[in-house]
Amino acid sequence: MRRILGNHYVLYLASALCFLAAWWVASLVAVRAGFSNILPSPAVVAATIVELGREGEIQRHLFLTLWRVFAGFAIAEILGLVIGTVMGLNAKFELFADGWVMILLTIPSLAYSIFALLAFGLSETAMIAAIAATTLPYVVVNIWSGVKAVDRGLLDMARAFRVKRRNTLRKVVLPQITPYIFSSSRYGIGIAWKIAVVVELMGASRGVGYMLNYSFSLFSMRHVLAWTAIVVVVMLFIELVAIRLIEERVLAWRPKAH
């Protein structure tokens, strides 16, 4: 725990327990007031998750959604890395692309989903395209600002010592934008999840978004909460464990924050 959450892990755990307690109290109040279906208790939701797992529903839907999220996110991250880097290095391209990025950021993610489903039909391609398109401008902005923040003094140093271009990129520029690659990944995966659920709700017959919609049509709050909780737990795992551990290793030279 300490390794993953840092020295303040007690605070993290306390905050999670407070959340569960507040949820539990609220559900008791709801039951007292005669609305037992509106807010099932954490225990009921947990039991529902176990039940979904036993029936194989989680495996059937979660992995498909995860695959869509990662495929869409990977496309956005790679394109965003290239576009953001060129924008940061080239003033003309920056002016040219600036307006595009603003427009892409403004388009509602629902509109991307509709465009993609109309263009590609109810297909995997459409869903992945919608996820990638929504995520891309956020990644671009992040990487772009990272490249803009590269220390000119270090570039001058490399030039004065006649360091070759390849080494300058690898050893001077890349380490400086690495933190931005991580923050854009973290941010990008979050966005990709949100849009994945929306696009599945509209165009999929499997996936977490589809199951949320299905639970909605059954008016089953405990299923809606169960699926939401599954998404939150998986996201927290990716954010807190996977990305943070990689980041800690790659950016080991930075002084510790705690």
Binding site: G153, F161, R162, V163, P175, L251, W253, R254
Partner: protein, 260 residues
């Protein structure tokens, strides 16, 4: 043959209203082999611009700078000469170890890979940092980082070293110690040094010659030899007397005339 020869160097930058803002005006001077020459002028004047031209980062509008075997003049492609450079801040790469920071420039300078360990150990030992070669810069004190930056400039064994106020950001006591290291490294190397500073005492203590520079635009006012043998004592009365004389001259003829 002078390692550094500057002849009629002029440069102006475009001003805000479209006019030209002169930065360097017909600057000429020479630096002989193994000589330590300081450029002394008010801060914010064109001293750093002069070093940027020498490092091949910037071209002049007119005049010539010969540095080593490279000739820099208006319109020629910018090629950095083979020099060591010490900046005001250490400009180390914080994600590399001390040794890796030095290896980066050894690689660029073409030092054979089998010599790297020996060179790094030798130079780090000279400033008492051999035990720190596998540390990252952020684990070192400010003064130690400045020493590593000195070692980086000397490790490529250059004929010429350019220094841009390398002690300017340090407190007086740390600056004193780094200055001793700097002198020791330079004397062992025999390199020619062009040293930019706005600190009169520092220039007098370190240099063979001090060039007093006018401000805005920068041009040479006076070339003062410092004819004292090394090692010099900071408190040597003759040195202090010369320092007082230069200070007097500096404030009377450079600061006051530019304020008028």
């Amino acid at each position: 043959m002078h390692p550094i020869r500057v002849e009629g160097l002029s440069l102006s930058f475009p001003g805000r209203d479209g006019s030209r803002l002169p930065v360097l005006d017909n600057v000429s001077f020479d630096v002989g082999p193994g000589e330590f020459v300081s450029l002394l002028g008010p801060s914010g004047c064109g001293k750093s611009t002069l070093l940027n031209i020498a490092a091949g980062l910037l071209a002049p509008d007119a005049g010539v700078m010969r540095i080593g075997d490279i000739v820099i003049r208006a319109g020629t492609a910018l090629v950095p000469p083979r020099v060591g450079y010490v900046f005001q801040s250490p400009r180390l790469l914080n994600w590399l170890t001390v040794a890796q920071n030095i290896e980066l420039v050894l690689d660029a300078a073409g030092t054979p890979r089998r010599d790297w360990d020996g060179v790094i150990d030798r130079y780090l030992s000279m400033v008492g940092l051999r035990a720190f070669k596998d540390k990252h810069p952020l684990e070192l004190s400010g003064g130690m980082r400045h020493r590593v930056a000195l070692v980086r400039a000397l490790a490529i064994e250059p004929q010429i070293i350019l220094m841009d106020e390398p002690l300017g950001a340090l407190d007086a006591i740390t600056a004193h110690r780094v200055r001793d290291d700097l002198l020791r490294l330079w004397q062992a190397s025999g390199a020619t040094v062009l040293y930019v500073t706005h600190n009169i005492a520092e220039a007098v203590q370190l240099s063979d010659r001090v060039m007093l520079l006018y401000d805005r635009p920068t041009s040479v006012y006076r070339d003062v030899p410092i004819p004292f043998a090394r090692p010099r004592r900071t408190t040597d009365p003759k040195l202090l007397e010369l320092e007082a004389h230069i200070t007097e001259d500096f404030f009377t003829n450079i600061i006051r005339s530019s304020a008028a």
